[in-house]
Amino acid sequence: MTLDAKAGRGLPPHTRNEQWQERALLCRWLSTLFAKELDEATLKAYLEGEAEPLLALLCDHEQLAPLVARFNQALNVLRLFEQPRLELAADFATLFLMDGRTAAPPYASLYQSGQALFHQQPTERMETRLRAAGYDVKKDFGEPADHLAVMLDYLATGHERLGEASSEAEREEIQGGLVQFIDEELTPWLPTFAQRCQEIDTASDFYPTLGQLVADYCATLSTQASAPAR
């Protein structure tokens, strides 16, 4: 079927299961975006508007709508680039892949107070969480567990587990754990990360916008995850 992206807006309120499913989708989508650069096919899909349904889901949160508009504008500008994939890859590198001091390194350990080093307590805590949930970071990803993409994937997995929980008590425990995870492991550094994404000169606004989106979206998850759903 073809999907009318705009149809997503103003959708009737979702059920609890649908809400978890959406959150899992969005978290994993964002994780994908921060895990690596876009390849040609994926970029083409973005430029052809394939992300619209996902953006529509984000627009469920009123405060994210301006960022979604900004993201769409970034895509419009990208369409004018001669080599958009390379420019985006260079932006990605500039923001996330060079040294871990300047720009916006996507690692929780580097935002701790005190000395900024890789593989610090946030990595350890994240590994403990993953182990407790029965997971490891895939070897070929080659990143420590405090990488933003891993944390977002953990969040996606958590929301999937909510849907699979066999009892209300289990659901509550998972839900509580997720809120605590966002508050303790993401909220302390994502606003700084997002801010740094805005301060660096990039060719496109694609990643700076995403940097802000991920921080703001996680903030909505933190406040709404604890709110009762239908």
Partner: protein, 832 residues
């Protein structure tokens, strides 16, 4: 018509949007739990051996190896190295170079955007460039000669890996000499028959027993012995401690000839003889004058062991072309030491057993050959060369030289060259009339003047037209002089490939950057004590290579795979097979039997490899004391020196025949291109900048370790040490930021005002990472790399070595808004 949420989500799952969502980064875990206790592993480094507690795959704690009684404080920087935010995490390529290769805008180098590559793409690019350069140009266009203080370990020594792999593909331009001792290692073979700088010296126990006077000439062993070429044992410190006691009880007199009150002087509690910078040769000539005039020199020794004393003395006595007698009064005007004190010092040297011990920084100046040559002449005049506690040494501050050697064989290393009988893929050694080897410190001259010719050590060198450079574990953007000149030279290069583990300036000025892991992320083996061969150390891999970094062995094996030579490269072995092979060969070499009261026994018994690897260390025991040049003294005809005559050459006919105006047939005083204390250019730039070896780094290694760096920086900048007088005259207080400048460049540094420094002398330790505000020529260096200011000229036509310590500057209090330090980050972006 509105659709339901469920329908929408179903639709999304089936739409193109689903393709934007990856498969996830988590896998079901196989491991149940992680040991909370952790494991202690053995590791080695230039800074010494240590044990590391590895917990949950991370280095949690580092403590010195039990056998190291004098561990360096720098071990506190190890964790900061491994987990440093400056780590290179992925293969990266400069965007403009990727798009345009050799036709790109090279002025962007150092200030440009990069993109990530997979290892396969990165190595393909590396290989394509090697192919392009060998095919389109030839071996003359490729420089892979620069190597430096690689991380320790005999198997993974990165220069060997880089040069073996590149040599299997084609020939390339190499270097001769090094930045540490270029002038010394060139001149001393003419004078004493070997480089001396890298030779074992008279054992400390004999010096302590026999010397009455020790002269530390521009030498700071207490500072410099913290690091070693192989794993450092720090055994020398035991002898320095004994020396300190002997100074205190008056049995040995130690005099530090130095403009600066050194760390060694302060530790030992010894005397200082202040001398104006770069005037040591004038001072020494006057000493020779006094020794001669007062007949204090050893005529019999000169006659039996040395050649060319007379022509030299004619020069000293003012009978040579310059018609200037090198009297103490003549020297006083230059060196600032009163004539009577010069005479007194000469008398002291001749009064009893005297050991001269020179440092290296003194030969890293224009005409740096001269103080070393003149030191040897003085030692010959004193007649104590070859006696215990007498004569001259050029290396007791280095790698525990002077600690008696065990006599055991050290392990070999992964080969640097192509295997015997094999030829490179491009078997073309035609350098088109250019030299295949250039003096190391002249490579920027070479880039700027292809086809140009220079005189070097008795021959003429024609510079090749280099198009591509490869650096591995080597940071020329710290160790080479005059960075603004380097920037111009780098605009000429078509391709620069760097393999390293941190984003230093060399990476920033490169096109292709490949992440090697640190030595703590690989298994290796090393000798414990470069010259003492005290033992053999296992270097356990502490953690897996971080991020996407790899060992040099893996990187270059895969490069060779691209031209089908990977099996040959690795000789069909993996890392641990290599480590075991090196161990087993060492064990064989040490298996010789010697007689003992209970029958023949193996002199250096070594267990089977598996046992060694588990124990982490084999001790070879302490060696026997030894006297440098004793054999020559005993029988000069039989044990002739390696000089052309076999004797100490006070005058060198060979050098004389070269006809060089800046290195004549005997040691001479020559004015420098610039010099403080009344010398040339001192009216404009009155301060001598000395850039000696750092106290809290190994050259540039460990500068990036933030927490440790913070123990010595001033407002986040490298310290510049200065006298209270110079500070006051410029309104500078301790802790201020200062701008240091000359016609070559400018930098920011943090003021450290100290009585240890005399007027007109400032110090910035070399190895401070370069971090200009932008890529423009003349840009302010934000951290304080002294090579932003130093002069890039050869010491002379003989050695063509670095003259880093011939440098004058001015400074001022910095009152503007200080730019952030850029040294430890990746490239800054060009304006888009």
């Amino acid at each position: 018509m509105a659709i339901s949420r469920r329908t929408f989500l179903k639709g999304l799952a089936a739409s193109g949007a689903a393709s934007l969502i990856g498969p996830g980064l988590l896998a079901r875990s196989a491991t149940a739990s992680v040991s909370v206790e952790g494991t202690w592993k053995m590791a080695g480094s230039h800074w010494g051996a240590f044990k590391a507690l590895v917990k949950g795959g991370r280095v949690a704690e580092v403590k010195p190896f039990d056998a190291d009684r004098y561990p360096t404080d720098m071990l506190n920087g190890i964790k900061g190295l491994i987990y440093n935010p400056s780590r290179i995490r992925y293969p990266m390529v400069r965007l403009d170079w990727l798009k345009n290769r050799e036709n790109g805008d090279r002025t962007q180098r150092g200030d440009n955007r990069f993109v990530r590559l997979t290892w396969d793409s990165a190595l393909d690019l590396f290989y394509e460039e090697l192919e392009r350069v060998q095919k389109n140009y030839g071996p003359w266009a490729l420089y892979a000669g620069a190597t430096g203080w690689r991380q320790t370990g005999q198997m993974h020594s990165c220069g060997n890996h880089m040069q073996r792999a590149v040599a299997m593909h084609g020939y390339f331009v190499k270097k001769v000499g090094d930045y540490s001792t270029g002038a010394g290692q060139s001149i001393l073979p003419y004078v004493l028959g070997s480089t001396e700088v890298y030779s074992q010296g008279t054992s400390w126990p004999l010096i302590l027993e026999n010397s009455k006077t020790i002269v530390l000439w521009a030498n700071d062993p207490y500072k410099n012995l913290q690091v070693g070429w192989n794993c450092e044992t720090h055994e020398s410190y035991e002898y320095l401690e004994q020396l300190k006691s002997k100074i205190a009880d008056g049995s040995i007199r130690v005099i530090s000839v130095d403009p600066v009150r050194t760390k060694s002087q302060k530790y030992l509690g010894c005397e200082q003889l202040y001398i104006n910078p770069m005037t040591d040769v004038a001072f020494m000539l006057a000493l020779a004058h006094t020794l001669y005039q007062e007949e204090l020199y050893d005529k019999a020794f000169i006659e039996a062991y040395a050649l060319g004393f007379e022509p030299f003395m004619e020069y000293v006595l003012g009978k040579a072309d310059d018609n200037t007698e090198k009297t103490p009064e003549w020297a006083e005007a230059l060196c600032g030491v009163p004539a009577d004190e010069i005479r007194e010092f000469a008398r002291l040297l001749a009064s009893d057993r005297t050991q001269l011990i020179f440092g290296w920084a003194i030969q890293r100046q224009q005409h740096g050959e001269q103080p070393y040559w003149m030191g040897a002449v003085l030692a010959a005049m004193l007649g104590q060369i070859g006696l215990p506690g007498g004569g001259i040494s050029y290396a007791h501050h280095y790698s525990s030289i002077g600690v008696p050697a065990s006599g055991a064989s050290a392990p070999g290393a992964f080969p640097r060259n192509v295997d015997t009988g094999k030829t490179p893929k491009y078997d073309n050694a035609d350098f088109k009339g250019a030299n295949d080897t250039i003096p190391v410190a002249r490579w920027i001259d070479c880039l700027l003047d292809p086809g140009g010719k220079i005189q070097y050590n008795g021959s003429e060198v024609t510079f090749p037209d280099i198009k591509m450079c490869i650096f591995s574990g080597c940071n020329p953007w710290h160790h080479h002089q005059d960075h603004n000149r380097m920037k111009k030279a780098f605009h000429k290069l078509e391709t620069v490939v760097t393999i390293d583990y941190s984003w230093n300036a060399t990476c920033r000025f490169s096109d292709l950057v490949l992440p090697a892991c640190t030595q703590f992320e690989r298994n290796d083996i090393d000798i414990y004590g470069s010259y003492s061969n005290r033992g053999l150390l296992a270097m356990h891999k502490l953690v897996d290579p971080l991020f996407h970094s790899r060992t040099d062995f893996d990187i270059f094996t895969d490069l060779c795979r691209r031209f089908g030579r990977h099996e040959e490269y690795a000789q069909g072995m993996d890392e641990m097979q290599w480590v075991k092979k090196l161990y087993d060969e060492c064990k064989d070499a040490n298996s010789e039997e010697v007689p003992s009261p209970s029958g023949p026994k193996v002199r250096f018994p070594m267990p089977e490899f598996e046992q060694f690897w588990q124990d982490g260390y084999v001790d070879f025991g302490a060696g026997d004391p030894w006297v440098r040049h004793a054999d020559f003294r005993e029988a000069p005809e039989v044990n002739a020196l390696g000089t052309p005559s076999g004797f100490i050459e006070i005058t060198s006919r060979k050098i004389d025949r070269y006809g060089y105006d800046d290195c004549k047939g005997y040691p001479t005083w020559m004015e420098k291109a610039e010099r403080s204390h009344g010398g040339p250019n001192s009216d404009k730039y009155p301060l001598w900048l000395q850039s000696v070896h750092p106290d809290q780094r190994l050259h540039s290694q460990m500068c990036e370790a933030d927490e440790y760096r913070a123990t010595y920086t001033v407002q986040g900048r490298e310290p510049i040490y200065m006298s209270p007088q110079d500070a006051k005259a410029r309104g500078i207080a301790d802790g201020d930021l200062v701008r240091v400048f000359n016609d070559r460049g400018q930098l920011l540094a943090g003021a450290r005002v100290s009585d240890d420094f005399p007027t007109g002398v400032v110090r910035i330790h070399e190895g401070a990472w370069y971090g200009p505000v932008d890529a423009s020529i003349g840009a302010l260096d934000t951290y304080g790399d002294p090579n932003t200011l130093t002069m890039d000229v050869g010491t002379s036509k003989l050695a063509q070595a670095t003259s880093a310590n011939t440098c004058v500057v001015e400074m001022e209090k910095y009152t503007g808004e200080a730019p952030p330090v850029t040294s430890f980050g990746g490239p800054q972006m060009v304006e888009l």
